[in-house]
Amino acid sequence: MPPHGLQTAQQTSEESAGLRLLLVALAGVVLFHGGLLPFTHGNTYDAFIHMFFGDSYHRSWFDPWEPRWYTGFATTSYPPGTHMAIAGLMHLMPLRAAFVVVQLVGLLLLTVGVFRFSRLWVTARPAGFAALALVLSSSISETVHLFGQLPTIFSLGVFLNGLPYVYRWIVIGGLPNLAASVTFASATTAAHHVTTLFGGVLFIIPLAVQALRAVAELNPSPKSRLASVLRFARPFGRGILLAVLMVGAMVLTVFPYWSWSINDPITQVPIPHGSRESFIERKDLGFVFFVLPWGIAILFLPYVIYKTFTTRLLPLGLSVLLCFVLGTGGTTPISRAILHGAFDILTLDRFTFWATILILPFTGYMIDGLLLGRSGEVIRAALGRGVHRMIVGGIFLSMTLIAAFAAILPTIQPTQPRFIDPVPIAKFLEEDEHDRWRYLTLGFGDQFAYLSAQTEAMSVDGNYHSARRLPDMTRFSVERLENAKYLGVPGLGSLRQFLVNADSYNLRYVFSNDEFYDPILHFTGWTRLNRLANGVIVWERQDVTPLPVFLPRREISPVHAIMWSVLPPTALFMAATIFFMTLLRRGFGGHSPEMRPLVARPKDFSNVRLVRTVVLVLGGLAVIGAGTLARWVWIESQKPAPPETVIEAYFDDLDFRRFQPAYDRLDPETRPDFEEVMFNWRWRGGLLASYGKLSDMRMVAHNKTDNLIDWTVELDLLTSINTRTEILEVRTVRRGEHWFLAPTNLRQVQTPVRLQREGTVAWNVVGRRQPRPETDLHRDRLDRPRIAVSDARLVQRNGRYSVLGALTNADADPAFVSVFSSLIAKDEQMLRQSTGEVSSQRMLPAETSGFRIDFEGVLSLEDEEALGNFDPTLFIPPELSAPPDTASIEARAVVAGRDLYRGVALNGVRIADKDGTPVVSGLAVNTGTETATIIRIIALLYDDEGLPVWAEAGFVETNIYPGQSAPFQFALPARDEITVIADLSQERLMVNGSTMQADLGLPTARDGTLPMNGVDGYSTMRLHVSTFTYDPLF
C-alpha cells in the first residue's frame, strides 16, 4: 500500500469510477424505485401501517397513546423514527406523498450506505458496482414494492452509513469517530431497533474482525509475542467501549419501547408466518421468502464461498452464509436450533434480506472482475468476446427482469383487495355522531390502516399485532380480525366473539368489503344498512351502548413521553448532520490508509483450453439435463389422472371460481353447453355455494365398473357461521383413457305462477322526523317494545354451559332483541356473553322463539391448541373460578323494521330418530316474493315436563328463489346429553331495565309447537324461521 496520503494514479482513477457508479446507482434508485413507488406502495402489506403511525404523530406528537386501534395502544410499541419523518413531512404534503418521499430517502441512504460499507471490503469501483447491484436487487424490489417495509430499508440505510465510523474508531480511534458511531447507532434504533440488534452481530462483528486485521497490517509484527498480542489491546478495548455505548444508545433512544416491552410483555400466541415454514413443503412460500429475494444472486453463492475461504473476505462471507441458513426457515432444523425461542417470534425473511445486502461487496467484486478484471479476461480468452458479452449482459438482464418482476408482482397476483376510497367511510363516521361507537372493517386487507388514518373514530381492530392487548385478540393467532377467513375457524372464532359481544366493545358499525362474512353478520344480529359510494357495505348493530365520554387509557409518564418525542428525531437529525458534513468535507470516495480492501491482483492465466472444455462439457450436461427434465414433465402431465384426482380438481376449480377448467372435467359426451352448466352453478347459491370455502374433502367409491364409478363425496366447507359437510353423489365416467365427471342436474321444480302478487306489511322506523340537525330528539324516539323471557334455564351439555329459554315479542311493533347472560356461582358473577346464531334477533309482534347463549372462553397461551394445528371443532372452555350454579339474563329490545321476511314455509317436517340422534328434516319452500339467500330454523325443544331444555339452529344449505324449494336437515342432541343445572327465577331476569316483567300470558310447550313423538326425552318442538334476503352472491 502507498504511504498515508499518497494514492497511485490507478487508485485515483478507480475512486472516480466508483463515485461515478455511485451516482449512476443513485439516479437508478430515483428513476426505477422512485418512479414505481407512487403506484406500488398502495399494493403492499405494510405501507399503510406506517402511514397510520405517521398520521398518529402528526395529530399528536407528544402523546404516545393512540386510541383508534384495539381500544387504545401505546405508539411506544414501535420505534418512531420513520413515522415521525412522515409526520413532519405531512405539514408540507399529503400522507401518501410523505410516505413515498421517506421511502425514497431511505433507498438513497441505503445505496450510499452499501457503497460506503462495500468500500471497507473492496476497492471503490467494485463498491460502485455493489451499489448498482443494490438498485437491481430483487430483494430490495420485493421489500419496497411488495412488502412496503419502510423502517427496514431506512434503518439499514442509516446503519450502513455509520459503519465506516465504527471501522475507523476500532482501527485508529478518534473521538469524532466514536461519537459518529454512537449517533448512527442511536439513529438506526430510532428507525428500527432490530436492525441495530442484529446488525451488530451480522455486520459489525465481521467488520470488527476486518478492523483487527487492518490493525495487524498497519502495525507489523513486533518482536515479542506479548507485544504481538498487546497491539490488539487498544483496538479491542475501543470495540468493547463502542459496544457498550451502542447498547446504551440503543436503550436510551427508545427507552419507552423497552419499558413497554418489559411491563407489558407480548402475551399473544405466535402469529404464523410463512418465513418459518418448510419451503420444500410450501413452495409458494419458498418462492416469496427465498427464491424471489435471492433472485439471481443465489447463483453467486459458489463464488462467495470460494472468495470467503481464499481471501480476506472470510468474516463477511461467513456472515452471508449464516444469514443464508437462517433465511431457510423451517426447511431445515438448523434455524430453530440456532434461534431457539426467537424462532417463533422473528420473521426469518429478514435474514434472507440481510444476506442479499451482505453479499453485495462480493457481487460488486465479481462484476468488476467480469467487466474489467481477470475473470473477464479468462472468459474472453476461453470462450470469446461474444460469450463474454452474453454472460455479462445475461447477468444484468436477469437482475433487471427479476427486480422488475418483484416490483410488479402485486399487479400480477394481487395481495390486497382493490383500492377502497376511505373518504365515504370517514364521512359516514363523522355524520350523526356515528363516531360515538367503535367500528370494524372486513375485507379491507392492509387498507384498513389507511382508513384509520383518515378518521378519528375508533376500531376494535388494528394492524399491528404486537400492540394488541384485548384478551380476545391476543390469544387467537389472527393478525387482524378481518383476516379471519384465511385462518379458518380459529380466526372466525375471534371475529365471532366481537360480533356477538359487540356491546361490550361499544362496537356498532361494520364496514364490509367481503360478502363471505354476510351470513355471520346477519345471523348474529347485524343489519345491513346501505352501500357507500366506494362499494363498501355498512352493517349496524342496534342498541349498542356508546363509548363513554372518558375512555380508559394507559398513563405514560411525562418523562417517557418527552423522551419518545425528542430523542429519536434528535438522533436522526444529528446523524443527518454528520452525514452531510462528511459529504461536504471528504465525500464518500476517498481512500484512507486504515482501509484494507480486497484488491485484485493481476495474474496470467494459461489454461484457456481447460476452461473452454470444462465450460462446454458443463453446458452440454446442463442442456441434456434440462431436456430430460422437460421431457419427464411433459410425459407426467399427459398421464391420465385417476378419478379421485379429477373429482378433487373439479371441486377445487369450483371453489376458486375457475369455471372453464371445471367444465372441461365434465363428461364431454353428455355435458350440456358451457352456458347451461354455468347457469346451474349460478342458480345454486346460498350458504355453501356462495359463502362457503372448501377446506377438505373425502370420497368413497361404490358401484364400480371399469368405466363407471359412483362416489359419495363429502365436502367440508367453511362458512362464516360454521363448518358444514356437504354430501354429494358423484359419478365418474371413463372415455378412452381419461376420467370425467358426469354432469349433475338441478331439481327443476317450477314456480307455480308467472307473476306473484302479494300484500306485505312494510315498516319504517322514521328516526329523525324533521329537518333538524339534532341526532336524538326525545320526541322522535320509540320506547322499547314489550318483550318477555320465559322458562329460562342453565344447562350443560358435553361440558359446555348454555343458558336458554323462550323469547316472546308481546308488543304491537316488531322488535330487535338483545339478550345477555352471566354465569353465577355463589352469587358471584363470572362470565357474560350474548346470544349468537341461536337466537332470532328480529321478531314480529306476537312471535315466540327459542334462544341459546353459549359460554366460551378464549384460547390461552398454555393450551396446546395454541401451538398446534388448527382444529375446526375447537372449543375453548371458559375459565371459571367455580362451577356455575345459576345464571342471570338481561334482555332489551328496540323497535326494528328490517329483515323480517317470513315468506319461507317448511313442508313435510319430520322428526326421526337416527341411531339415537333426533334429526329434523323437510323441505323449505319460498312462498314469498323475495329471494331467500340463507334460511335459519331455530328449534326450541321442550322436555317431558313441558319446559325448554335445548335450542338448536339449522341452516338450509342453498338459496331459494320465490316459488322454489330446497331440502333441509339438521340434528338435535339426544336428551340424555343435556343436564339442567338451574331454572332461572324471576329475580334473575331483567327485561328492558326492569326485573318486573308484565303479567303476560306467554305460550307454553303446547302452544304453536310440533309433537316429537317417538323421540325420547322430548315432548314438543317450536320452530322459528328467519331469512337473510340479500341478493345471493355468486
Partner: protein, 356 residues
C-alpha cells in the same frame, strides 16, 4: 352590606352559564360581586349558607311525554307527564293546574309537583293513534301521540275454510277470519301467528302468517306434501279449531313407458321413463321425485333417483348390458310401475344426466 362569598346561583336555564352573572333590570353583575341588597332588588332570596334561589316564574316551556307507545285496549294504563319550565329554565311552582288532552279525554285534575305534572289514564278501548297535548298557564306543549292496539288475548281465532280441493304444485292462500278482539278492534298489520298442517303420515307443514287488513294470511305451496291435512292456527295462547285441507290426488293416465338400452362404449345401461301423463290433462309436474331400480338376470342391481323434466326421466346405470333381461321398478308420486324389460334401441336425442 355584607359581601357573600362564594355565592352560587342555581339556574336551570337552557343556555345560561349558571353561577357567572346575575341579570336583572339593573344590569349584568358578576355573581361574586353581588350583595344582599342587590340580590333583593333582583328578586333573589339569599340563604344564610350562601345559596341563592331564583323563585319560579310563569311557565314558558311545556314538554310532554306519553307512554307506553302502544297500550293494549282494556288492559294497559297510559302515563302522561309534563315537564314545565319558566323562562330561565327553572321548574315552575307547585300546585299549578295542568290541562291534559289525551285523545278524546280531557283531564284537568293534575297539579304540578316539583314542576312536573302527570296523570295515569285508562284510554278508551278503541284501537287507533291519538293525539295528546297539555296546557299550563296558557302555555301549550307540542303534540304527542299514543296508540291503542287490539287485545290479542281476547281474539277468537278461526280459519277461513278452503274452497274445493287444492292442486299439487300450486299456491293456496290460507287465511284466518278477521281477527277482532272483544272490543271490536282489529289486530294490527304485522302481527304474526303460526299455521300448522298435520298430515296423515305424521309429517307437518309450518307456515308463518302475518296479519294484513285484519286477518292472518300465508301462502302454501303444495309441494312434497303427501296429501292434505288438518290446519290449526295459533296466535299466542289462542288456537283455532282444525280446518281440513284437502289436496286433489292425481292419477296416471296410462302406465309410464319405460325403456332400457345399452351404452357399449362405457359398458353401461341407460334408462328412460315417460312421458308421465296424468288424468288432470297435463304431464306430471317438473321436479316430481322419481326412483328407479333395475335388476339384471344375474341379480346385480342398480338404483338411481332424480326428478322429472318435461314429464320424463333418464339416467344411466352401472349394469352390464349383457345381463338382461332386466326387472325394472319405477316409482313416481302417482305410483310404482314394475316391468320386465330387455334392451331396446336408443331413443333419439339421448341425454344422460346424473341426479343432484
Amino acid at each position: 352590606m355584607k359581601l357573600l362569598s362564594p355565592i352560587a346561583l342555581v339556574l336551570l336555564a337552557n343556555n345560561a352559564h349558571a353561577g357567572d352573572f346575575v341579570s336583572d333590570g339593573f344590569g349584568l353583575v358578576p355573581a361574586t360581586a353581588i350583595s344582599e341588597q342587590r340580590a333583593a332588588w333582583a328578586g333573589l332570596i339569599v340563604r344564610p349558607d350562601g345559596e341563592i334561589q331564583q323563585p319560579p316564574e310563569d311557565a314558558e316551556t311545556v314538554l310532554i311525554f306519553v307512554g307506553p307507545k302502544s297500550l293494549v285496549a282494556g288492559v294497559d294504563d297510559g302515563h302522561a307527564v309534563t315537564l314545565n319550565f319558566d323562562r330561565h329554565g327553572n321548574f315552575v311552582a307547585d300546585d299549578l293546574p295542568v290541562d291534559f288532552r289525551l285523545g278524546p279525554q280531557r283531564v284537568t285534575d293534575p297539579e304540578t309537583r316539583y314542576g312536573i305534572g302527570d296523570v295515569l289514564f285508562r284510554p278508551d278501548p278503541s284501537a287507533g293513534v291519538f293525539l295528546t297535548g297539555a296546557t299550563i298557564q296558557e302555555r301549550q306543549s307540542a303534540r304527542a301521540t299514543y296508540r291503542v292496539t287490539a287485545d290479542l288475548e281476547s281474539i277468537k281465532l278461526q280459519n277461513q275454510p278452503v274452497e274445493g280441493q287444492l292442486s299439487f304444485e300450486t299456491f293456496a292462500t290460507l287465511s284466518t277470519a278477521p281477527l277482532t278482539d272483544k272490543f271490536g278492534n282489529v289486530a294490527n298489520d304485522g302481527v304474526s301467528a303460526k299455521m300448522t298442517i298435520t298430515h296423515g303420515d305424521g309429517a307437518f307443514t309450518v307456515l308463518t302468517p302475518v296479519v294484513s287488513d285484519g286477518s292472518a294470511q300465508s301462502k302454501l305451496l303444495t309441494r312434497d306434501i303427501p296429501d292434505g291435512g288438518a290446519m290449526t292456527t295459533t296466535l299466542g295462547l289462542v288456537a283455532s279449531a282444525a280446518t281440513d285441507l284437502p289436496v286433489q290426488p292425481l292419477g296416471d293416465l296410462v302406465p309410464a313407458e319405460l325403456r332400457l338400452w345399452a351404452i357399449p362404449e362405457i359398458e353401461a345401461v341407460a334408462f328412460r321413463a315417460g312421458p308421465i301423463l296424468t288424468d288432470a290433462g297435463h304431464l306430471l309436474n317438473d321436479g316430481a321425485s322419481v326412483k328407479v331400480t333395475v335388476q339384471g338376470a344375474s341379480g346385480a342391481s342398480a338404483t338411481a333417483d332424480g326428478w322429472l323434466l318435461d314429464g320424463t326421466f333418464q339416467t344411466f346405470l352401472t349394469l352390464d348390458p349383457k345381463d338382461g333381461p332386466f326387472e325394472v321398478e319405477f316409482s313416481t308420486p302417482l305410483g310404482t310401475y314394475h316391468k320386465r324389460q330387455s334392451l331396446r334401441a336408443a331413443p333419439g336425442g339421448m341425454a344422460l344426466e346424473g341426479a343432484e
